[in-house]
Amino acid sequence: MDMFLYIDKDTFLHRLDPRTKLAVMFGSFVIALLFESLPILLALAVIILLYGHSGKVLSNLKRIRVILFMIGLMSIVIWSITRGGETKLLGPITLEGIIYGITVGIKFNVMIISGMIFLSSTTIEGISLGLVKLKVPYRGAFAFSTAIRLVPMIVATSYTITQAQRSRGLDLDSGSFIQRIKKYVPLIIPTFVSVIRSTNVFSMALESKGFGYDKERTYYMELSFRSVDYVILIITLLLILVSIYAKITFKL
């Protein structure tokens, strides 16, 4: 099991300043949240996928493909039944409902993919240093990046524990809903115990390496905001401004 989401490659995307990548991510969030129009969201999805493709990090999407698929499916099922509309297809299902479901599904998936691209192409140190440069206090930035790091660690631990319990005969695939929930107890307790133990060692190791020695610290990693960063940043800002303008003027 890989512990990190970060994929170590030397590409255009990896060389971008973390602040630029942060801006692109938030830009995509803003645009995705602004619109309910399928063509615009599709266009946004294409741009974001091309952006991720430039860093060769889209392979990480395989890890969350089930989540992406479920969100799309749930959204289509729920909205096609509940949205209503003119063109009735079958029972409560309408064409407008299906289209709206697809739109909402893309909206959320685009945001998740955009976040994933950011985490796959930026080192944890890069994220925290980027945040520090944006005037976030170091402790806060470090806590944020640690939280990101913790997620794959918990996943890896629970994977081992699932294997251990399945070896003892735990069968997670059968039984009623309530029975299945009960079956997760042997997984959850050891996961909690292990995570608490290792975070405890982690925090002791941090202090033992001088974390919090002084308010100030130096950084070995260097961030350089190059001209390509300015270009990307300006494009992102322009897209956001155009989107807001379009939203207000044309009520898309």
């Binding site: 890989d2 990190f4 294997q163 959850i188 002084d214």
Partner: protein, 567 residues
């Protein structure tokens, strides 16, 4: 020379500790530049002492604390841990949790960054440290992709980079293969020779403690012995009594000669010289008897239980962990699977109970292809005890924990009770039924984990590193337990790094290297090939090396004594 560490009347008791103190009235001075090894059984207070040195106790871990610890004259009670870190670096046993950066360079830079070292200087230190811990060329590697030994060396390097005057390592070699262990000790030795660095290492491994200037033995929160390592390590009786693994060579010579303890040889080379000068001889007849006993045992094995044919396994991330493995395990065998960290041995055994399925090739368990069976089905035949007991313990009581497996298989209440009783008896934990498993010691939790596998009454028991984190006495108890299970008819497959355990208990050995089985045969035959083992980062125990030098392969001190003539 100044004092690096000065401890006065130090007593500590953990907040939730039931009885006694973790350490009591410790008085200890360590001079600048000394290399000290601290040994002792589990629960002796070694880690507690280490955590007192940089102030984790009392700042981080709470309890009743009295006395004082001065590190380079600074009282640990008055400064936060992060300030003390500049004076003393602490390396933990659990190397997974102390590495948290994206690559090796950033991991090393983390300490100096906190101490506001200039960037150019950090750059310089990274180069130096990488050289010291022999990780040059690994600058951009992500720590999780390193092997166990490399990870621990990186953990040491990340502490070295801050240039503390004292370094304390808490059991740095526990999870490492033999060569990984040697690497750590070579580094320690070099660091020590370089200059004024004070080095304190807590260890289980007796063979490695020989390098130190000074050896401290702890027991039940007290310092029992403090002095020259050679002198203390040749005190075979003391070692045996308090449960530290005695060095095999002096132990052997103390049994076959009347040498005074200070005259006893320590290493296989010294042993060979002594053996010749004492005019001792190998008893060839007895050696043939031993070989015949091996053959007899092999004849008595039963049916084939597990058959592995041309097994290959590729993980979803594209990494090929197994590249064509063939093995046959028959009923009653005791097979040890060896290999350095990351060689593919865990991947291999996970095929034995269907946790993993072959990418190519076949695994046949009890006559059935694992591809056409389920873990649930195979689980009746093959039990698998994972390395860390805490990855499977979840119940409120020991009884519930052990009853889990039979319960899930739908046995009757009386049947379950019967099986739990039988399993707890087998691991010698009767009377603990109502205890909370989390309140037990690591050794006891390990036993409960084994019992919870036994309650399914499997024919084959797979054990992944059953002795890791246990002290010598606990390791012995665990291995005696496994031997008894084997004698009762269970087939044992065991992954381990602990070579003396393999040597004394396993019938057969399979050495895995880079996804292939490179050596496979009876323990005696495999341990004869010392050089080939070394190529796969494995090192035979002292007594085996010693007997190999004499042209025979004897696996334990007892066997060696049996084959000695001219006493």
């Amino acid at each position: 020379m100044g004092k690096a560490v000065s401890i006065e009347n130090l007593t500590f008791r953990y907040k939730d500790q039931k009885n006694g103190n973790a350490i009591e009235n410790i008085n200890l001075d360590i001079d600048e530049g000394q290399f000290v090894v601290i040994m002792g059984p589990s629960g002796a207070g070694k880690s507690t002492l280490a955590n007192c040195l940089n102030g984790l106790i009392p700042h981080f871990i709470r309890g009743e604390y009295s006395g004082q610890v001065l590190i380079n004259g600074m009282n640990t009670k008055e400064y936060p841990v992060s300030k003390m870190a500049k004076e003393i670096g602490l390396v933990f046993q659990d190397f997974e949790s102390q590495l948290f950066s994206t690559n090796t360079k950033l991991e090393i830079a983390f300490g100096p960054e906190n101490f506001k070292v200039e960037r150019a200087e950090i750059e310089k230190r990274i180069k130096e440290v990488l050289k010291t811990v022999q990780l040059e060329g690994f600058e951009d590697r992500q720590p999780p992709t390193l092997s166990g030994g490399q990870k621990q060396r990186l953990a040491i390097g990340s502490v070295l980079a801050s240039k503390p005057k004292i370094i304390c390592m808490d059991e740095p070699t526990t999870d490492l293969d033999p060569i990984g262990k040697m690497g750590i000790f070579t580094i320690a030795k070099e660091l020590h020779q370089e200059g004024s660095l004070t080095l304190i290492i807590i260890e289980h491994e007796t063979e490695e403690a020989l390098y130190a200037d000074r050896l401290i033995i702890m027991e039940e929160g007290h310092i029992l012995r403090d002095g020259d390592p050679e002198e203390i390590l040749t005190d075979v009786e003391l070692m045996d009594r308090i449960g530290i693994m005695p060095l095999q060579i002096p132990k052997y010579f103390s049994k076959v000669s009347s040498l005074e303890s200070h005259e006893l040889p320590l290493t296989p080379e010294e042993g060979l010289e002594k053996f010749n000068s004492l005019k001792l001889e190998i008893d060839d007849k007895e050696y043939i008897n031993i070989i015949n006993e091996d053959l007899e045992r092999e004849k008595n094995y039963g049916d084939v239980l597990i058959e592995v044919k041309g097994l290959e396994h590729t993980y979803p991330n594209g990494k090929t962990a197994l590249k064509g493995v063939n093995l046959t395990i028959r009923e009653g065998e005791f097979l040890a699977i060896l290999g350095h960290n990351g060689s593919g041995k865990t991947t291999l055994v996970k095929h034995f109970n269907g946790l993993l399925l072959p990418t190519k090739g076949q695994v046949i368990v009890g006559g059935k292809d694992t591809k056409e069976s389920s873990i649930f089905e195979i689980g009746k035949l093959v039990g698998y005890a994972f390395q860390n007991p805490d990855h499977q313990i979840f119940a409120d009581t020991v009884y519930e924990e052990v009853a889990f497996s039979p319960k899930i298989r739908g046995y009757s209440e009386t049947e379950i009770e019967e099986r739990v009783r039988e399993a707890l008896k087998a691991v010698d934990m009767e009377g603990f039924e109502k205890e909370d498993p989390f309140s037990l010691t690591k050794g006891q939790r390990q036993r409960i984990a084994v019992a919870s596998i036994l309650s399914a009454r499997p024919k084959v028991i797979i054990l992944d590193e059953p002795t890791t984190g246990l002290d010598f006495k606990e390791q012995r108890q665990m291995m005696e337990l496994i031997r008894q299970l084997n004698e009762k008819g269970h087939t044992i497959v065991m992954i381990t790094h602990t070579m003396w355990v393999v040597s004394e208990y396993a019938h057969k050995v399979a050495v895995v290297n880079d996804g292939k089985v490179v050596l496979y045969g009876s323990t005696r035959d495999v341990f004869k090939k010392e050089e080939e083992l070394l190529k796969t980062y494995l090192k035979t125990p002292h007594i085996v090396s010693f007997s190999n030098k004499l042209g025979k392969t004897l696996l334990s001190v007892d066997e060696m004594i049996r084959c000695t003539k001219g006493v």
